[in-house]
């Protein structure tokens, strides 16, 4: 994509019928560090790579809890992501207040998409430079959506955004047919595998990634570092064998503790309330 005379304003069409400012905004998403999402019939897992600018600083927050039943992972301009997360939280709270029920995920993403579209049709605005992977549960099941700066949104079984996301997508393209029936543990492991693909050789540790889960009977929460590290160790010890190759019925129902590998008392299963601050995100 090269500079041209039609890319100054978002309100200027190119002769080929393109809005370059919108496309440049989507480039910003590709520059951000990777975020992936996958879903089964009962759970959605979001994971992101957290690269700190320097050893001295903390990393940027890329996964946000929006409500008990919805969470979002972002890639791109994280400031824009933070603002949109605040909007999403506010919408969920207002819906709950008015209807005393949870905002369906599909409704939220449409509102988000409409908000993004406005910024593609005002000369005094710019498009949001952030891609959002919205994962949540409602009456119609588990959902994963991708909202882009253009105002489009799509539903996915699994998706990845950000830099080197293609590697994660390739991994997930091989596996996605198993995700629907996957257990919670295997879904998380697949997320970690996919995330590892984006690191291209760099060692995956819980210090550089964040994993979050939402499921039936399980409010959206971010897994703590110990749990994530234990899961990473588990599959590395197993000789990097992809979890879907193991006996699929092994962890059916999702709530069974896999062997003794995971630390006892780790907040790996069920509601997040055991020992974790409720909005600890």
């Amino acid at each position: 994509m090269f500079r041209n005379q039609y890319d100054t304003d978002v309100t200027t069409w190119s002769p080929a019928g393109r809005l370059f400012q919108v496309e440049y905004a989507m480039e910003a998403v590709k520059q951000g560090s990777a975020a992936i999402g996958l879903r089964s019939k009962t759970h959605v897992v979001l994971a992101s790579v957290n690269k700190a600018n320097s050893e001295l600083s903390s990393h940027q927050k890329k996964i946000f809890k929006v409500d008990d039943h919805i969470g979002v992972a972002i890639a791109g301009l994280t400031a824009d992501g933070r603002v949109l997360s605040r909007y999403m939280r506010s919408e969920c709270i207002n819906y709950s207040y008015s209807y005393e029920s949870k905002l369906p995920v599909g409704r939220l993403v449409v509102q988000l998409a409409d908000k993004a579209q406005v910024c593609t049709q005002r000369s005094w605005k710019r498009p949001y430079g952030v891609g959002l992977l919205v994962g949540g549960l409602d009456e119609s099941g588990a959902h994963l959506y991708y909202n882009c700066p253009s105002g489009n949104y799509f539903e996915y079984q699994a998706f990845a955004i950000g830099s080197r996301s293609q590697a994660a997508k390739t991994y997930m393209e091989r596996k996605f047919e198993t995700f629907a029936e996957s257990s919670r543990e295997n879904l998380i492991k697949d997320a970690l595998f996919a995330l590892r693909e984006t690191l291209q050789g760099e060692k995956l540790t819980s210090t550089i990634c964040t994993v979050a889960v939402v499921g039936i009977g399980e409010a959206f929460h971010i897994l703590d570092k110990e749990t994530v590290q234990a899961l990473i160790n588990e599959f590395e010890i197993a000789g990097e064998e992809a979890p879907a190759n193991e006996a699929a019925p092994e962890d059916q129902g999702g709530d069974a503790q896999p062997g003794g590998d995971v630390q006892p008392g780790a907040a790996d299963q069920g509601p997040a309330d055991e020992g974790v601050a409720p909005m600890d995100i």
Partner: protein, 223 residues
């Protein structure tokens, strides 16, 4: 034509009584479950108590539609607080929020007489008592509602420090044990039920302490 006066009121009084007592490491919050209008009973099984946060429980008597609206506003505000601060609201913080929310409608008030109970930041029991427009005070015990005129003098007799001149009443906490406080509350309601027609049916008691929240029920006279 003689002068006409408005005879429609936006308010109604659904009756009921609430009590709260603060202990050194616990708090007891109780309310009856009768909901009335005029001389009729609407239901014998309506809870006036809501847990707003991990360590804050509110009991409200008065106009239950306004009570429910107030509860919803506070619940939504608490969610926002959690998103912004990454933690639950403390009881003193919730107390201030309740006061501000009530005063916000100073010129069309919530017809809600509230008592907020919970644990403060040090784990000690705390009780805050309110009027309909948000005037509040931290106290060791309080009651609100139709039976409060019967219960409050009794609590004063049992719990008030003997001489405020010798012993500073600053420490707003009762020396009773948790089970003694629960028994006292049951006694209060049994007595109030005898003489207040709007109080009765069933008593709902919530005890808040370091281990969490515990709920208990006791039958009251149904006449």
């Amino acid at each position: 034509m003689p002068i006409q006066q408005a005879n429609w009121s936006p308010y109604d009084n659904n009756g009921g009584t609430c009590v709260a007592i603060a202990g050194s490491d616990y708090c007891v919050i109780a309310a009856d479950t009768r909901m009335s209008t005029g001389y009729s009973i609407l239901t014998r099984d309506y809870s006036k108590i809501i847990q707003l946060a991990e360590k804050s429980v509110m009991a409200s008597s008065g106009f239950q539609a306004d009570v429910r609206a107030l509860q919803k506003v506070l619940e939504a505000r608490h969610l926002t607080y959690q998103h912004q601060h990454n933690k639950q609201m403390s009881c003193p913080a919730m107390a201030q929020l309740l006061s501000n929310t009530l005063y916000y409608k100073r010129f069309f008030p919530y017809y809600s007489f509230n008592v907020l109970g919970g644990l403060d930041n040090e784990g000690k029991g705390c009780v805050f008592t309110y009027d309909a427009v948000g005037s509040y005070e931290r106290v060791g015990y309080s009651s609100q509602g139709s039976g409060s005129t019967l219960i409050m003098p009794f609590l004063d007799n049992q719990l008030k420090s003997p001489s405020p001149l010798l012993l500073p009443a600053k420490d707003a906490v009762t020396p009773l044990s948790e089970s003694e406080a629960v028994d006292l509350v049951k006694t209060c309601f049994a007595s109030a039920t005898e003489r207040d027609i709007y109080t009765g049916d069933k008593l709902e008691i919530l005890v808040l302490n370091a281990t969490g929240v515990h709920r208990e029920y006791m039958e009251l006279r149904k006449d």
